[in-house]
Amino acid sequence: MAGAEIQRRLNWLVAVVVGVVEETPSVRSLTLSCPGWPGHRPGQHIDLRLTAPDGYQAQRSYSIATPSEGELVTITVERIFEGEVSPFLLDVVAPGDRLELRGPIGGYFVWDPGEGPPVFLAGGGSGVVPLMAMLRARISSGDGTPMHLLVSARSRDDIVYREELETLSHHDGVVVTLTLTRSRPEGWTGYDRRVDGAMLRDLVMSPDSGLVSYVCGPTGFTESVAGLLVALGHPPHRVLTERFGPTGG
């Protein structure tokens, strides 16, 4: 893999939108069919490039939500208020449209099935996207790595992949925990606050388990959760982070 990685060129490819799923009122998944796609590893992302008729270009990164599957690449995009690119991907793009992308990109924030050390995944908002690729790969490959996903969302309706997460948590060795930071449905018995040290102490294995953590989401969320894990004694090199940018709202 490493040898092939070094040889590959990072060219812009033209993909066609072949599937659209409205995940929540403000989040949508797009499946792209991309001739020439070399395959990817869970956790990797693409760079997507839009070109206006006058030649102006805007480029953004989007994590891949699914394990490698031929020429298909699925991304999941959250609407950023007054954003340049995300509202276009939610409101304008339709099946049959062409989009320019390059990838896969990323050799650090990646996880491959292979019965390695136990894994803790923590995602805030759309930060769950690359973690979902890891969890889906864990399940579809039949790998037995213990995996715990913690998702922080504002409300139940804001949980991306909610139905799938509810079924995934029935798999052996897979745990999904949700915390709802703004509003809870009636009778909610789960966590109801931002991720804090006490929550992580309850949920996360001790450092001597060899646990590897992947933390992803808005920059503030990512730095806060990674800092808490390090404070609990997890070595910084086993707390991997990916920052998506400013904290919304």
């Binding site: 490493a2 040898g3 990685e5 070094i6 060129r9 990072l10 992302h45 760079d47 990164s61 390059r102 990838g103 990109i105 990323g106 050799g107 650090y108 924030f109 808005p218 920059t219 503030g220 730095e223 991997l240 982070t241 990916e242 920052r243 998506f244 940018g245 400013p246 904290t247």
Partner: protein, 85 residues
């Protein structure tokens, strides 16, 4: 919290170095910290991107896009270690 990190620079670093770089190690010229490039603190201000050492803030890498070229300054990196497999 407007910054991102070296993961976001993966595509640009690939253009510069011709390979995936985010997992490769760099040693900070300021403080000697050794970290994967993915952990650098990145400020994206078109037309350039500025990556700083997460430990001490030293400017590690600056990439500026020009009409027909990319200019890279890597003064803040003492060494880069490229894993060859």
């Amino acid at each position: 919290m407007r910054h991102v990190d070296g993961n976001a620079m993966g595509g640009l670093l690939w253009e510069v170095f011709g390979a995936e770089m985010t997992h490769q190690l760099g040693c900070c010229a300021g403080c000697g910290a050794v970290n994967p490039l993915a952990t650098l603190t990145v400020y994206r201000d078109a037309p350039g991107e500025v990556a700083r050492c997460p430990a001490c803030g030293t400017v590690s890498i600056v990439v500026v896009r020009m009409p027909h070229a990319i200019r890279v300054t890597i003064e803040g990196v003492r060494w880069l270690q490229i894993h060859t497999g």
